[in-house]
Each structure stands twice: as structure tokens, then as C-alpha cells.
């Protein structure tokens, strides 16, 4: 066997580099489309003439390799992989009965989408390479000031306006937790209410019967009044004014005046 020529060695190094390059951290890509664009670029200059079938295979191979290396793969890379596998099957085995867009159409759209992204990348690069104000082109360094209509010019930017509105509208979301008072029956209120009534409760009666008037309508208000009344009942029982009983779990809670 011929010894390694310099070219062979170089080719092998290049091949290894290429393989390693493909194993770069997926985090280096901005999502599946970015990754696919990088793969497609190695195929053709005109992205609309690339072989989407080959691209799908490259992509799937990349994902398979990344998984074998146990690289953390974001979900959308896998979603794209699944879609490409499906597309591949459609390209290889067109189903004449299927009425949806054909595999070829979908492949064409994907190629166009890649071409659009590539075009915007190039446009961005061209834009940033222009002679720019403050870098190659300069404004008057010593502006003499043009009077506005007023003496004091008040400045406010759109961003400030939007941030102000966002601040107001989200302030409630961040304020310390406070209950909406009109839907809350406090324990102090319940105590006062209950003290006035238990004197007459010689017989066992359901706790619900002691809810204040007008607090049984909405579920929120009823819940608050029930909880406060129950707490107040416990307090009165502790003080030795009333007795509480419940026959079994979830049965009605009953109270009566403590017999003397």
C-alpha cells in the first residue's frame, strides 16, 4: 500500500474536521432552520436547487449523531427531524391517493424558505457593511442648535411611552398580595355577627344558617363568609360559649349554645 501522501493526510484531516464541525454544539445554531441552512450551503450556492432529499438525510444523520453523543437536543430540532423523515417518505413513495400538497411541493417550499433566510442574512451583512453615520459618515460635530417652537423642549420617546404603559398595567401583577376587601368577610366581622346570634341557638343548627345576610350569593363571597364564620365558631368554642359537632366527614358542621 502506498504510503500516505501529503494530500491523503490532508484529506483525512479535512474529513475529520468536517465531521467534527458537524458535531458542533447544536447551541451554535439558532434553531433547526439555521442548522438546515448551514447543511444546505455545503450542497449548492443556489439554495433553490438543492436536493431536499439529501438535505433531509443530512439533517437526520446530524440529529442521530448528536443523539448518540447524548447532546441535549431542543424539542424543535426533533420536531423538524420528524417532519423531515415524513417528508422524505413522501418524496420517495408518493401516495397518489393523498390530496394534500405533494412531497415535491413541500420540498420546494422548504428550499424557498431557506433561500429567504439566506437572502436576509446577506442583506443584513450588506446593510451593516454600508458607510454608516458615526463610523464613516459624520454629522455636524458642533451643532448650533435649532430653536424649536418652545423654549423648553420636552423629550419623550415611544419606548418610554410603551414602558410607562406596561409598568402601569402590570403593576397589579407585582404588588404585594392583598385581598380584594369587598369580597372578604373578616373573622372580626364574623365573630361580632356570631356573638349576636348564638345566644338564641339553644339547639344544634348548621353553621351555614349563621352566614350573614347577602353573603350566600357568589361562590367567592360565600366561601369567605363560611371560612370566617367557621373560624369565629372555633374561637367562640375555645372561649366556652358554644359547642361544635360534625357527625362524619363532610357532614354539615353544627353549632349550639353551650348549655349551662
Amino acid at each position: 500500500m502506498a504510503e500516505d501522501t501529503w494530500e491523503d493526510a490532508r484529506d483525512r484531516i479535512c474529513a475529520r474536521r468536517a465531521a467534527e464541525a458537524l458535531i458542533v454544539d447544536v447551541a451554535g445554531f439558532e434553531g433547526p432552520l439555521d442548522l438546515m441552512l448551514a447543511l444546505a450551503r455545503s450542497q449548492k450556492l443556489d439554495l433553490r436547487e438543492i436536493s431536499v432529499l439529501a438535505l433531509a438525510e443530512q439533517y437526520l444523520a446530524f440529529i442521530a449523531r448528536a443523539r448518540s453523543l447524548r447532546l441535549e437536543l431542543a424539542a424543535d430540532y426533533l420536531v423538524m427531524a420528524a417532519w423531515l423523515a415524513w417528508l422524505k417518505s413522501r418524496l420517495l413513495l408518493p401516495d397518489p391517493a393523498d390530496t394534500g400538497p405533494s412531497g415535491a411541493e413541500l420540498a420546494e417550499r422548504l428550499a424557498l424558505q431557506l433561500a429567504r433566510l439566506e437572502a436576509m442574512r446577506e442583506a443584513a451583512a450588506r446593510l451593516m457593511a454600508r458607510d454608516r453615520l458615526g463610523r464613516e459618515i459624520f454629522a455636524r460635530g458642533l451643532p448650533e442648535g435649532i430653536a424649536v417652537h418652545r423654549r423648553v423642549r420636552v423629550s419623550a420617546t415611544l419606548l418610554e411611552l410603551l414602558e410607562a404603559y406596561a409598568r402601569i398595567r402590570t403593576r397589579d401583577a407585582f404588588r404585594p398580595y392583598a385581598l380584594d376587601r369587598d369580597a372578604v368577610f373578616t373573622m372580626e366581622q364574623a365573630l361580632e355577627h356570631l356573638r349576636g346570634l348564638v345566644g338564641h341557638a339553644a339547639d344544634w343548627a348548621a353553621l351555614e344558617a349563621f352566614l350573614p345576610e347577602g353573603w350566600s350569593d357568589g361562590p367567592g363571597r360565600r366561601r369567605s363568609a363560611t371560612a370566617a364564620t367557621f373560624a369565629a365558631a372555633l374561637e367562640l368554642a375555645r372561649e366556652g360559649h358554644i359547642e361544635i359537632r360534625q357527625r362524619e366527614g363532610f357532614a354539615p358542621i353544627q353549632i349550639r349554645r353551650k348549655p349551662r
Binding site: 433547526p32 424557498l112 429567504r116 436576509m120 446577506e122 446593510l127 451593516m128 454608516r132 463610523r135 435649532i146
Partner: protein
């Protein structure tokens, strides 16, 4: 509308003849020279004596500055003096170090410039990733983008367009002068998004989030 005797509401005949054109040219020259910001024709007119013709004065002025170290440039609807680009190498000293823009911000800016008016969803579709926090407010903060009219599409989403500040920064007279715009259009790369391609396996038949009937600024 009353006739001759008028109360000074802009349509009144000038009390004096406007200054001669060379004098108007001097005026525009002084006003624009004094300002660091581009000024619109209406702003020039508001500062000049009644009956002046700032447009004609600007034409004369532009001719006068042809080939000089300082040029009169058009920035959208406004005008400004700017140094000639070929002399940039002498002026580096004046350059202010600007914040480096992230790749995402640069791409987003390009997409807004070439596709305007464009919605967030469209930007995300072209880039293939969701728009990150900070990209838009960075561009808003630089004064390079602003909100355009809401789109005639479900949800009436807000759109983004570029500003005169953008044109000024990149030395463009109008958004029509973006490099390569005609070629990109001809290649069909600026049209509405191709539906389906990356809609993913979910439902390839999702109806397009129709970019119907929007006023594309480049459509004539």
C-alpha cells in the same frame, strides 16, 4: 374663505416678497448646517420667510456641495449635511463607539427593512426562531424601527417599519434604495411566506396566516 385681507393663517399672501433664491439657498445652508438632525422640507419652510421655496433652494444647494468634503443628503423626507464617505478614514477620531448589535438584532433589522411592514410572526417565520426579548427594544431604542399600521389579518397584529433615523444611519435616501432590493424581489424572496414548509408535522394544511391586502410599501 375671505379674500385678500387675511389674518395670518398660512394661506395669506406674503406681506413682503420672499428673498431672492441665492439668499434662500444661504438660509437653507445655515439652518441645515446648524442642525445635527435631518430636517424636513416643512421644518425648513417654517423657519424661512413666507413664500420661500426651500425645495428649489435645496436643489441649488445640493449642486453647490457636489464633490465637496461635506454633502447634502436626503434622508427620507428630510435633508442633512453629512461628510463625504470617502473621507471617513480621516474622521475615525470622531467616531463614537456604538453598542455592538447581536446577530439576531441585525437580522431582525434587515427583515424589517426589506419586508416592511412586517409582523412579529412573519419575522419569526423567516428566521425560524422566536424573537428574543431585547431585540425589538434595542432597535426601538436606537430609533431605527417604529410601529406601522396594524395588519389586515386575524388578530390585527402590529407591524414594524423602519424610520428616518435608520435611513440616516445607513446613508439611504429612502427604503427603496436598500441594496439588492430589486434583485430580491425579482427572485421572489420578498413575497409572502411560503406556507407549509416549516409548519411542521402538525398540520401541513394549516391555512396561511394570510398576508392578504396589506399595503406593502414597495408596491407601486
Amino acid at each position: 374663505m375671505s379674500g385678500a385681507a387675511d389674518d395670518g393663517t398660512g394661506t395669506s399672501p406674503p406681506m413682503f416678497d420672499p428673498p431672492a433664491l441665492p439668499e434662500q439657498e444661504r438660509m437653507v445652508e445655515a439652518i441645515l448646517f446648524a442642525s445635527a438632525e435631518p430636517l424636513r422640507l416643512s421644518e425648513l419652510a417654517a423657519r424661512m420667510p413666507r413664500g420661500s421655496d426651500p425645495a428649489e433652494a435645496l436643489r441649488r444647494l445640493a449642486r453647490h456641495y457636489e464633490g465637496r468634503g461635506v454633502r447634502l443628503v436626503r434622508v427620507g423626507e428630510a435633508w442633512a449635511f453629512r461628510t463625504a464617505p470617502d473621507l471617513g478614514f480621516l474622521l475615525r477620531r470622531e467616531a463614537v463607539e456604538t453598542r455592538r448589535l447581536s446577530r439576531a438584532a441585525i437580522e431582525t433589522l434587515a427583515i424589517i427593512a426589506y419586508h416592511q411592514p412586517v409582523t412579529r410572526a412573519e419575522i419569526e417565520e423567516i428566521r425560524g426562531v422566536s424573537m428574543s426579548r431585547g431585540t425589538v427594544d434595542q432597535l426601538l431604542d436606537l430609533g431605527w424601527i417604529r410601529f406601522g399600521q396594524r395588519k389586515l389579518a386575524p388578530g390585527r397584529p402590529v407591524t414594524y417599519v423602519t424610520t428616518e433615523g435608520f435611513l440616516d444611519h445607513f446613508g439611504l435616501a429612502s427604503a427603496r434604495d436598500l441594496p439588492g432590493l430589486a434583485e430580491l424581489r425579482a427572485a421572489g424572496l420578498l413575497g409572502p411566506a411560503p406556507s407549509g414548509a416549516a409548519d411542521g408535522p402538525g398540520d401541513p394544511d394549516t391555512p396561511d396566516a394570510a398576508p392578504e391586502g396589506q399595503g406593502d410599501m414597495f408596491d407601486d
